[in-house]
Symmetry: C2
DNA sequence: TTCAACCGATTGCATATTGCAACTGGTTGT
DNA sequence: ACAACCAGTTGCAATATGCAATCGGTTGAA
């Protein structure tokens, strides 16, 4: 797949690759939720992506080199999707965009706690996160997809998210 | 104008606001090229935006609070578009996205020199740039639109861009 | 006073993308 | 045998985009 290349400006080219409503949302789910299968991305999507759009986006992101697709050896019909180095290096972009969104858009507390931690952690945390993502997605995608590779950063982010959500639910009912 | 709010996730909400092929490109032109009039954005666009799309995007960005529109006192038909604080705080996002694009996409040298300098300058340079943008867009948008307010950062970025382009043209013909 | 250049858009029309719901052919575990 | 699950695909309506021509008005110079 080729992009249109309306100009050689990096911002323009980035928007030609990521400038739609879904691509970065899918990458976010793979990155922070470790969603690695089609059905996982489809059914556990907070935003309710449609299956045809998910299929089209995955195909496009594979063609553009942001995502790899391989067969899952545990099930002849399953495919494992993994972030490539190109997509892993979007971590600083996602961190900056999350910080901006958290400040200026109507976010919910549970879904924005990870953005808050990522902003506070700064570049050292981003680097550590990217290093973990390389282990989980590039070096051993199969064990990574199975949740068998431990990431300190991911564990911290996920724990904070679950705690916040639990606290919100407790507050709502009590 | 309201966004759809498919979820309260900051990344999702950011993509609902900026997730199209043109919005961030327009903001980039206002930010780095100080393009403040409709015709200016239309005719000096490297990517060749269509007039109806530009009109629709400007209207939408005004409604979302990323851009202000005011009459130009020097010409009864002219309008001045200015970045608001919300859009000015996209500078770190643009810097991160530019750095990523420069590394992984087929950029041209002249159009990516500013992304390179912005990456090297890091957060201190971004803060200085944002401070200048506040003077040019928020505090005195009319003199700002006329190029009467000096920005050290913008001058440095623009000089580097022009030098690179001049060098490329010289190399091409000689 | 005429007139060309310029002002921010709008219109009409063809094509491309998106969203929704139902469905496909096949695999797996019970 | 069979229900649940697998990665998608199909048909169709609604929306968004792209292109070219055009709008009514303003400005500055001859």
């Amino acid at each position: 797949m080729e992009i249109e290349r309306r100009s050689g400006c990096p911002i323009n080219l980035a928007m030609e690759v990521l400038g739609d409503r879904w691509s970065l949302v899918i990458i976010r789910d793979m990155m922070f939720g470790n969603r690695r299968h089609f059905r996982d991305l489809l059914n556990r999507s907070d935003e309710g992506i449609a299956s045809n759009i998910l299929a089209a986006r995955l195909k496009r992101l594979v063609a553009l080199g942001l995502i790899d697709r391989q067969d899952d050896p545990s099930h002849s019909q399953k495919a494992i999707y993994s972030l490539t180095e190109v997509a892993i290096e979007l971590v600083p972009v996602v961190a900056a965009l999350g910080a901006w969104g958290r400040r200026h858009l109507p976010v919910s507390e549970d879904l924005s706690i990870r953005a808050e931690l990522l902003e506070k952690g700064g570049p050292p945390m981003w680097e550590a996160f990217m290093e973990d993502l390389r282990l989980i997605h590039v070096e051993d995608p199969i064990r990574g997809a199975n949740g068998e590779i431990r990431s300190e950063v991911l564990a911290e982010l996920t724990a904070a998210f679950l705690e916040t959500r639990a606290r919100m639910e407790a507050g709502q009912s009590g």
